[in-house]
């Protein structure tokens, strides 16, 4: 039976309309996966010797940090790890045991990148431990325990995923403990480190994680099974409609009409809400680069400058017109030229970018030159990147199902790795331009070049828009066909 499910999965993967466009992304993802794999591998092999060199007992030190490692893993999972959805509804009435369906959905998660990536750290690390003469039984028990914890996290993610914004709670907990430790008030890792060390010292302790992971499996299994009803986990949550009166936007004509619609789109769908929430986080991206004590290469500052104001542009703009995919046919038959539709989206991006720039004014505390960097980044975003995302949109053929992000089995991931990957080309040009300025030892020249390019883009936007419009027109039919296919 599992084999049949795998067959279905494979077919749905191969036959989705977005397969072609996704392939390039998938290759990029593959590179990313290899990159992380290598890093983890290097860490696994190298950690022992590096720690030894620092005169630390390697295993004890690793155990000390495991607390943060596992918590960080959970937070990452909550944000990134998608819940694997077998297309369940058609299977419900077939001659298949419910248990089989649930077991399969759970076992599928075992193959997730988020689980096996850890093996690349723990396995080599354990091998090195063995080679260095650590107790064989102890090391084996310890490694097994680690895998139990990783899989415990896996199941926790499946259960907890239903609760909104939980990752923020975990994030706060970790930050608080880290802060307490940093200021020498309370060191949680003293306790957790000893705890994890026990698996090596007394292998019998392995029972604890084994029990935990089994209990979690049973619990997750029950949870999913109970929710295997059309009016439970497979149902869409209904909420009471709230009407917003946004008629003050009417004064902006057609653009106002679309803005009204886009605001409702963002406010009423979980997926878009989370996306916009992510874009707020971008505002603080500059802290990594600009804080005193952070020694980043200067040329990367412009990177941060682009990101700070560009959060919305990258996470929302990137998916124009997919946001409208569920009613794209309506848009195409209504009394609106493409120009108007694109213009409205462009204005939305520009307005939010401008607002972000104003909000980012707190960077002035770090120094005017940093804020200048952000303003220049914003000019570039408005002039060039806003049009680049719209142009990219002509080729975005992945429908976004706004309504499906509910219920226990729904794919709730609003945040998408591919969105992040697409941003890379939009950042290279300004970095290069700024680099040219730095090459001549003139920072301001660099900034001027970036800003001028942005202004040029803004000046020629009518030309660019005509070009973008023609691309949308040629892609129109295949876009409609792709959006019609519900994922």
């Amino acid at each position: 039976m599992f084999f049949k499910f795998i067959y279905l999965e494979w077919k749905s993967f191969l036959r989705s309309a977005s397969f072609g466009t996704n392939l390039a992304l998938k290759i990029l993802m593959a590179f990313l996966v290899i990159y992380f794999t290598l890093i983890f591998l290097a860490m696994g092999v190298g950690a022992f010797y590096v720690l030894k060199k620092m005169n630390l007992e390697p295993l004890v030190t690793v155990n000390k940090f495991l607390f943060y490692y596992l918590f960080a893993d959970l937070v990452f999972r909550l944000i990134f790890q998608a819940i694997p959805v077998v297309n369940i509804k058609p299977l419900l009435v077939m001659n298949i045991q419910k248990n089989t369906i649930v077991h399969f959905s759970l076992w599928k998660t075992f193959l997730s990148f988020f689980n096996w990536i850890h093996a690349f750290f723990f396995l080599p690390f354990s091998v090195v431990l063995l080679l260095e003469g650590y107790d064989v039984i102890g090391v084996l028990a310890w490694t097994l325990a680690m895998f139990c914890f990783i899989y415990a996290n896996n199941f926790l993610n499946l259960i907890l995923n239903n609760i909104d914004k939980l990752f923020a709670v975990f994030f706060v907990i970790v930050t608080v403990f880290a802060g307490l430790q940093y200021y020498d008030i309370f060191d949680i890792t003293d306790y957790t480190g000893t705890f994890f060390q026990q698996f090596y010292e007394n292998p019998i302790w392995i029972c604890i994680p084994l029990v935990i992971v089994s209990v979690l499996y049973v619990f997750t299994f029950r949870f999913f099974k109970q929710n295997l009803y059309l009016d439970a986990g497979l149902a869409l949550k209904q909420e009471q409609a709230k009407t917003q009166d946004l008629s003050w936007l009417n004064q902006f004509g057609t653009i106002g009409t679309f803005l009204k619609n886009d605001i409702k789109l963002i406010m009423r769908n979980k997926r878009s809400k989370t996306t916009v929430f992510m874009s707020v986080l971008f505002l603080f991206y500059g802290l990594i680069f600009f804080s005193p004590g952070m020694h980043q290469p200067k040329v990367m500052h412009v990177f941060a400058g682009i990101f700070v104001s560009g959060g919305f542009l990258f996470v929302f703009g990137q998916f124009v017109p997919s946001w409208d995919s569920s009613y794209y046919q309506l848009m195409m038959t209504q009394n609106i030229p493409y120009r108007g539709y694109l213009n409205a989206k462009w204005w939305l991006i520009v307005i939010v970018t401008a607002i972000s720039t104003v909000l980012a004014s707190f960077y002035i505390f770090f120094g005017w030159e940093y804020y200048l960097m952000i303003v220049v980044g914003a000019i570039y975003n408005i002039g060039i990147n806003s049009q680049l995302v719209l142009l990219g949109g002509a080729y975005t053929k992945t429908p976004i199902d706004l309504t499906s992000s509910n219920g226990a089995f729904g794919d709730k991931k609003a945040f998408n790795m591919s969105a992040m990957l697409l941003t890379i080309p939009k950042l290279l040009v300004p970095v290069l331009l700024y680099g040219v300025g730095l090459h001549f030892n003139n920072e301001n020249l660099g900034l001027l070049l970036v800003a001028l390019t942005g202004i040029l883009g803004f000046v020629f936007r009518n030309k660019v828009f005509s070009f973008i419009e023609s691309k949308y027109k040629t892609e129109k039919y295949s876009t409609i066909a792709a959006y019609k296919q519900k994922k």
Binding site: L236, Q238, E239, Q240, A241, K242, T243, S247, N250, T254, T257, K260, N261, K264, L265, R268, N269, S326, Y327, Y328, Q329, L330, M332, T333, Q334, N335, I336, P337, Y338, L402, T403, Y477, I480, A481, Y483, K484
Partner: protein, 231 residues
Amino acid sequence: MIQVQNLSKSYNGNIVLKIDNLEIPKGQSFGLVGNNGAGKTTFFSLLLDLIRPTTGFVNNNGVQVNTDESWKSFTGSFLDENFLIGYLTPEEYFYFIGDLHGQNKADVDALLNDYVEFFNGEILNNKKYLRDLSKGNQKKVGIIATLIGRPEVVILDEPFANLDPTTVNRLKKIIKKLAENPDVTVLVSSHDLQHTVEVCDRIVALNKGEIVKDIQTSTETLQELEVFFAV
């Protein structure tokens, strides 16, 4: 009002629609009947420039639909729920369409007022988003939304499907009234021969993508069609 020239659509060499010549005069109420896969929805999608014709073209009031977009200002259409914006309430959806046709709230409200009976108290002021309405109620919203902005061409794909008997009768009344207006051309497709014959002046039957019957409705039409579609 609508001229079709040499229109065909094929997928990988399979011809799914082939209409050499079809002319729908202004004010006509035009019914399209046929079995599943006969090409009804394909034809309407071509009319609305939602798919690209393999050959030929459609003229809507002198506007060639795949090269010029101005037909959108006088054409109202509803094919399926892909035309609805799920996260809006019905009212907001109507106002949105109204905005696009330069109709303000009061205009739209006045229009909706005529269809209170059709909505049967299940649509307006119900505090529900469109995505949470039943299929039938969604259809009601979609159909009435096509009438916003006094369109000269109204295109409805399978309007009778999924509706309860009472609503079907009310809808027939609405379409008939619409068809009485000499400025409005109505295009309706359906599997249901009786409903179509009742509301349309002219019936065209499609089979495997080709026009096999083209008749002005009379008392014998229903019988003729039933004979044609009999097994």
